[in-house]
């Protein structure tokens, strides 16, 4: 057991993956010599070699496309895109090829590839550095979409992603890299896909989140507790596959649900959850399923960012309204 932050947990998992399987390699911009812009890959080139921890030219489509080819040939590449806002040049590779080769070839060719992407706002970065467009990947058939919120999950889900026979988009919450600490077993324990984690139990309402929003929701839940509302907090951990059972079971008990998502509101993942919850549990709903989300705006820059990102206050206010309704 090591106590570390989420960034260090990712490093541990990458180091372990490289050490335990010669077919695993890392490629991306600045991942090698300098250890990545977040220092996640720091030291990995020194310990595993420049042919396995590879600095590439500045070309995201090339990074993903080359990693795709490597995966089809049987390697287990882990491609890093520096920020989610810079994954868009690789979008065609991801949507048209990475996600489809298994189906296109009836399983004759597959792409067991992990695309690691830091995502989300909260560090006052420049434009394009605060994106949270996970819904776009969840909308794309053939991709698994993983969004960890704790160091143990980051490490464990990453190992599961590397071992997965299909392409995985692995979104790492930038804000949690240093802020979120926890125990990680060494080597990390793989964490299965498709199993939500119950971060807090409570009879009054169900709060659902993932990634960077989980700590915000937990803080909101504590505030609610002070005013006598005990919330159940579910951390989805993977959006695809989705652990719907756990969500429906909880909402059927509480009759109330709040979904919290940092991404833009329209067609975000919270919309999918709200739509599905009312399909599956309409008659147990005591109030409308509420969405607390980022807005349909560009994520504001440093001075205004906090108006965009859901925080404990906004979440607690929405949850209180849901809990008190009817």
């Amino acid at each position: 057991m090591t106590e570390c932050n989420l960034a260090q947990a990712v490093t541990m998992a990458l180091d372990h993956a490289l050490a335990s399987d010669p077919d695993v390699l890392l490629l991306g911009e600045d991942v090698g010599v300098t250890g990545g812009v977040f220092r996640i890959t720091d030291g990995l080139q020194a310990s595993h070699g420049a042919d396995r921890v590879i600095d590439t030219p500045v070309a995201e489509s090339g990074i993903v496309g080359a990693a795709f080819g490597m995966a089809v040939a049987g390697l287990r590449p882990i491609a890093e895109i520096q920020f989610l806002g810079f994954a868009y040049p690789a979008f065609d590779q991801i949507v048209s090829h990475v996600s489809r080769i298994r189906n296109r070839s009836r399983g004759r060719f597959t792409a067991p590839l992990v695309i690691r992407i830091p995502y989300g706002a909260g560090i006052g970065a420049a434009e394009h550095h605060s994106e949270s467009t996970e819904a776009i990947f969840a909308h794309t058939p053939g991709l698994k979409v993983v969004v960890p919120s704790t160091p143990a999950d980051a490490a464990g889900l990453l190992l599961t992603a590397v071992a997965d026979p299909d392409p995985v988009v692995f979104l790492e919450p930038i804000r949690s890299y240093r802020r979120t600490r926890g125990d990680v077993s060494d080597p990390p324990e793989p964490v299965p896909f498709g199993r939500a984690a119950v971060r807090r139990t409570g009879p009054d309402l169900t709060m659902v989140a993932y990634g960077a929003m989980v700590p915000e929701v937990l803080e909101a839940a504590d505030r609610l507790s002070d005013s006598g509302i005990e919330a159940e907090v579910l951390d989805l951990r993977t959006l695809v596959p989705l652990d719907l059972e756990t969500v429906i079971e909880s909402v059927s008990r509480t009759g109330r649900a709040v979904i919290v998502q940092e991404g833009h509101r329209t067609c975000g993942f919270a919309a999918e959850l709200a739509a599905t919850i009312q399909e599956e549990a309409l008659y147990s709903l005591l109030a409308p399923v509420a969405r607390v989300t980022g807005w349909d705006t560009v994520v504001p820059l440093r001075r205004s960012e906090h108006h965009y990102v859901p925080g404990p206050e906004r979440i607690a206010a929405a949850a209180t309204a849901v809990a008190r309704e009817g």
């Binding site: 390699l25 489509s61 080359a66 080819g69 065609d92 298994r102 296109r104 399983g107 596959p241």
Partner: protein, 343 residues
């Protein structure tokens, strides 16, 4: 531009193979054209969806792939059926794909040919990853990717060429400059005098060859394959050729192409000139020709029969291969489609 075999069948350069060795390649070109004509005919009868003819490009496709080893990778496009078949992709799979049946995308084990790329541009970098991976694992397998003149305008061409050069990936880039990208002529696609010269931007050798000259293509491909195989890195080959038919069966070249231009290229037919050469070398007879056509027609008709006798896929089939194991969401959707209880 490298030229060895002139349209009249005479040699203007050193042929890379003997007349005897040219016979099987001639046979392959004849078979490919039989497939091409047959496909166009089937499409007219509504038995295929759209079809993209490669007539006129047989030397460029058969000649480049002929330089490969049987286990090398080939990553081509919707127009590269001849190249794919030459590397082992069965006619029946090609027909199935054209009927709109997913089963076309799955060649037999051991055939290292990806299903044809429908998107223009994206697939070249896949060959870079494939070749790179082979070298990483100590194999001397290489990858060849085929694409058109229009594809060189896509950003992905640039990234693939640059990655291949920077990482010295064992890749052969085969650009079939067939003069048109649908209706857009080569000179409106880019201002560079040749497409081969684009290789220089990546510190990569680029060779322009007469793409209708089997021997020139073979020579260039042989050099490029040898470079890749021996770790000297990638090469770009521009095979100058012509798309004799329409872009696809949905296209009408009359709208953008001068019949005079088409006539000029008919005289440069890649198959005719090899036949003339073989004839001069006493390696060709009308009887052999008839035999070749009969054999290829039989093989191709058999493939059509095999493709058409397959029942359509079941309704739920589409859910089976999105992942190694369908997610609960996909299983639920399958039940919805089949009208089974799903809550």
């Amino acid at each position: 531009m490298l030229e060895i075999l002139s349209p009249d069948g005479s040699l203007v350069g050193e042929p890379p193979i003997s007349a005897a060795e040219a016979r099987p390649l001639y046979a392959a070109m004849v078979a490919a054209r039989t497939y091409d004509h047959k496909s166009t005919a089937l499409q007219k009868q509504g038995r295929l969806a759209t079809y993209a003819s490669f007539e006129g490009q047989e030397a460029a496709q058969i000649g480049t792939v002929a330089a490969l080893r049987a286990d090398d990778w080939v990553v081509g496009t919707y127009r590269d059926a001849a190249a794919m078949w030459m590397q082992g992709y069965p006619w029946v799979n090609l027909f199935l794909g054209r009927t709109g049946d997913e089963r076309g995308g799955s060649p037999p084990a051991g055939v290292n040919v990806l299903p044809p790329s429908i998107t223009v541009g994206a697939h070249m970098i896949h060959a870079v990853g494939l070749g790179w991976a082979e070298r990483h694992r100590g194999s001397d397998r290489i990858a060849m990717t085929l694409f058109g003149d229009g594809a060189t305008s896509e950003g992905d061409f640039h990234e693939a060429m640059n990655f291949a050069a920077v990482f010295r990936a064992p890749v052969v880039f085969v650009c079939q400059n067939n003069q048109y990208a649908i209706s857009t002529p080569r000179d409106r696609q880019t201002v560079s005098e040749t497409l081969a010269q684009k290789a220089d931007a990546y510190g990569m050798p680029g060779l322009q060859v007469d793409g209708n000259d089997l021997f020139a293509v073979l020579t260039a491909a042989g050099e490029a394959v040898a470079r890749a195989r021996t770790g000297e890195g990638p090469t770009l080959i521009e095979a100058v050729t012509f798309r004799v038919g329409a872009h696809t069966t949905a296209d009408d070249p009359g709208r953008y192409r001068d019949p005079a231009e088409e006539a000029v290229w008919r005289d440069r037919d890649p198959i005719d000139r090899v036949r003339r050469f073989l004839e001069l070398e006493q390696q060709w007879t009308p009887e052999w020709q008839a035999e070749l056509e009969k054999e290829s027609t039989e093989a191709i008709e058999l493939a059509i029969a095999q493709a058409e006798e397959l029942d359509p896929l079941e309704a739920g089939d589409m859910f089976d291969r999105m992942f190694a194991t369908p997610t609960t969401q996909l299983e639920r959707q399958r039940r919805m489609l089949l009208g089974e209880p799903h809550d």
